[in-house]
């Protein structure tokens, strides 16, 4: 190992990094996306492709990222360009593929922080009783649309509140990252994750004890609500869309393919375990998703809105469920403000532990490749990101956020995951990879995973990449579902993203030239 490598930040404890990786993985999708996906794709039967994807895709990718991250960290690199270069030093282009691992999280951070700020705002509205004054769907939808600045109504006449909470949320994120890995991110994760689980367990118990709240409607009960989510429809398994939805859910929920786990793991030392720690982060995330996430919104919505409306509600999308349906449900309970607060705090904590992880790769890139001090790197990151966030706030109704989500939150993830898996198993070589995974390991991985990581995971990823591209990608790229008036905004966003990618690629080139010059 190079002795000239400057001293990098490090984790304070093993539980700290597990909580941080789990915190990065546990996001809004665990509570809003998973139950809807399960209910719409075969109910209990959805768990078959879900667990198959977890075993063949999610867990192997988690191990790959932890191992690659720790390996790259040994060379003083905390982001994908340097990590990929450390793995394949003979190839001078591989570092540019690594740009995706900085670009992706940066793009997600730009819009995710804004969504996260809505949960903080709604926690405030729940605490002050403002939410509880609205008692019907149309009122709650108007409240959300007014808050987002999509319309002027009796609740909001401008973006003032949304912008205020966005600024607070953004500054909170910057504040956490400013204090570094141990003092900021680890400390936040160790406090936020237990509170998140406590909020989730309280809400789960409340929902599971709902019984039959309205005795005049005996069918609207908890057991039928659970049945709506869990009763298996085996015919769904014949559809490739269901398998793709399950694989996609595993991909998004575990935060693999983004680049953040690479960065987090780069702060480990060579002798630290990655096998058991990676598996623990997976199991913590799955606990939050399947056990907590699956027990709150869909069963509660069924009990309060009945079998007639539940299908419609499930189809209305995650935001509608989280910000319209759930406040109405809590509003009709006693001690409504406590449960509504717990719900939005749960979402906020899930959000902030994810968003700080999204900020870290760009900050680590400036620190590691340009020798910029952490505090200065965070300030540069903060200023640039604050500017980049503005279009997502002011042009929300113009398709900007959807476009950012498509490129940063979907396309880059699958592509980056595929590159990582191929690089790890085929370039690094399976024998090296196997030895590297087990260095300092607290448990042995079953040998079957040698075969899975080499053949099944890359093949599975390629199939997902191609099928997803054919199924959704082409229509999005050709803007088939974009209203005419939004096309200029979507095109401008696309151009901006291309420019951002190009700037990052130039920075990578410059960093490598600079390093070469110093050596020479």
């Amino acid at each position: 190992m190079n002795k000239e490598i400057k001293k990098r930040d490090s984790w304070g404890s093993r539980i700290g990094i597990i909580m941080a990786v789990a915190g990065s993985a546990v996001g809004l999708g665990n509570f809003l996306r998973f139950p809807v996906q399960a209910a719409q794709n075969g109910g209990g039967a959805f768990m078959i492709p879900y667990f198959v994807s977890l075993l063949l895709l999610g867990i192997p990718l988690m191990w790959i990222e932890w191992t690659l991250g720790r390996f790259g960290g040994g060379f003083g690199h905390g982001t994908a360009p340097g990590i990929f270069h450390s793995v394949w030093q003979k190839n001078r282009f591989i570092k540019y593929f690594g740009v995706i691992g900085i670009f992706g999280p940066l793009v997600i951070f730009i819009y995710y922080t804004y969504i996260e700020s809505w949960t903080l705002a709604y926690s405030f509205f729940a605490l002050t009783g403002k939410l509880q004054t609205i008692t019907d769907q149309s009122g709650m939808q108007a409240f959300l649309r007014g808050f987002q600045g999509l319309e002027k109504n009796q609740f909001f006449c401008n973006l003032k509140w949304a912008y205020l909470f966005f600024t607070v949320t953004f500054l909170l994120n910057i504040f956490v990252v400013y204090y570094g890995i141990k003092g900021g991110i680890e400390r936040l994760s160790k406090i936020a994750m237990p509170i998140l689980f406590i909020c989730g367990i309280i809400l789960m118990i409340r929902v599971l004890t709902l019984g039959t709240p309205d005795l005049s409607k005996p069918g609207w009960n908890l057991l039928n609500g659970l049945g709506f989510l869990w009763n298996p429809d085996f015919s769904a398994l014949k559809s490739s869309k269901v398998w793709l939805a399950a694989a996609g859910q595993i991909f998004f929920t575990l935060s693999v393919g983004i680049g953040v786990i690479l960065t987090y793991a780069s702060y480990l030392s060579k002798g630290d375990d990655v096998v058991l720690s990676g598996l623990s982060a997976v199991s913590t995330n799955e606990f939050a998703e399947v056990i907590l996430g699956g027990s709150i919104i869909i069963p509660a919505a069924f009990v309060f809105f009945g079998p007639g409306q539940i299908t419609e509600i499930a189809k209305s999308g995650s935001f509608n469920l989280g910000f319209v349906t759930m406040p109405l449900i809590f509003g009709s309970m006693s001690l409504s403000f406590i449960f509504a607060m717990a719900w939005f705090m749960l979402l906020f904590l899930a959000g902030i532990t994810s968003s700080v992880s999204l900020a870290q790769p760009a900050v680590a890139f400036l620190e590691d490749e340009f020798n910029i001090g952490r505090k200065r790197a965070v300030i540069i990151f903060g200023v640039v990101c604050f500017i980049l966030c503005q279009p997502a706030i002011f042009f929300l109704g113009r398709g900007v956020m959807d476009e950012l989500d498509f490129w940063g939150g979907t396309f880059c993830l699958v592509l980056f995951g595929t590159i990582e898996a191929i690089l790890f198993a085929w370039v690094f070589g399976m024998e090296n990879a196997w030895a590297e995974i087990h260095h300092g390991a607290d448990m042995k991985i079953p040998r079957i995973y040698k075969f899975i990581i080499k053949y099944i995971t890359p093949l599975f990823l390629l199939i997902i990449l191609i099928s997803w591209f054919l199924q959704d990608g082409i229509s999005v790229i050709l803007m088939k579902n974009v209203p005419k008036e939004n096309i200029p905004f979507v095109l401008a966003t696309r151009l901006g993203l291309m420019l951002l990618f190009l700037i990052l690629a130039i920075l990578v080139r410059y960093a490598w030239k600079r390093r070469k010059g110093k050596r020479g």
Binding site: R14, I15, I18, G43, G44, A45, M47, F51, L223, N224, L226, G227, W230, N231, P232, D273, L276, S277, L279, S280, V282, S283, T284, E286, F287, V290, I291, G294, H438, G440, A441, D442, M443, K444
Partner: protein
């Protein structure tokens, strides 16, 4: 909820709880492999 629903719920919850307990028990036992 029908029998199939219960089957998938118990199996999923059991698998995840088992995995979580296994991982954290092993972490706190702090034994390294040979």
């Amino acid at each position: 909820m029908n029998l199939g629903g219960w089957f998938f719920l118990i199996l999923s919850w059991g698998f995840i709880t088992g995995l979580t307990v296994f991982c954290f028990l092993k972490i706190f036992s702090k034994k390294k492999i040979e």
